[in-house]
Amino acid sequence: QQQVKQSPQSLIVQKGGIPIINCAYENTAFDYFPWYQQFPGKGPALLIAIRPDVSEKKEGRFTISFNKSAKQFSLHIMDSQPGDSATYFCAASSETSGSRLTFGEGTQLTVNP
């Protein structure tokens, strides 16, 4: 059972654009929502994470927006660069289920020069 749905599967933007990747979840017990970035041939790396007590978190050019009532969260990349081209995964976990991460299907982002 897929508990975290991610969209779109792929996304192409021009340099300087603001790609947005969305995730929706079903389990209301989820209390930790990280985003991972993965380059080809590498393992995923933690990018930014949010907990449900805040609606937005920014780290550099990366922003997470969180809507608890809609059970959705999204990643925005400001002033995107070709070096941001990668696969992005959202994930979620709950303390009540041992904090094991459940991942979305991934979004392949291409930022054209």
Partner: protein, 112 residues
């Protein structure tokens, strides 16, 4: 991921043979995980460990077993490899529950 080493990085094996993948960490993290990555499925949890000799099944554990006899090593065994187990396997560690994971660089396994 300099603190997590997965071996081998690539392996081709025949259907029906046993295969063991190794994850070695120098982070002294208590929590360790094995995921497989397949197109359209993201990362799916195979097995996890909350400490030495403390392991449990994830969502796609059929055909896999694990062992953790030392904090630093987490082994994943495919008991009798099948073509459906062709995948990229990632090991991850966490320093505590509710913290982000650190991933290794992965093992690309092909079962022919």
């Amino acid at each position: 991921d300099a603190g997590i080493t997965q071996s081998p990085r690539h392996k081709v094996t025949e259907t029906g043979t046993p295969v063991t993948l190794r994850c070695h960490q120098t982070e002294n993290h208590r929590y360790m995980y094995w995921y497989r990555q397949d197109p359209g499925h993201g990362l799916r949890l195979i097995h996890y460990s909350y400490g030495v000799k403390d392991t449990d099944k994830g969502e796609v554990s059929d055909g896999y077993s694990v062992s953790r006899s030392k904090t630093e090593d987490f082994l994943l065994t495919l008991e009798s490899a099948t073509s459906s187990q062709t995948s990229v396997y990632f090991c991850a560690t966490a320093r505590g529950l509710g913290y982000g994971y650190t991933f290794g660089s992965g093992t690309r396994l092909t079962v022919v």
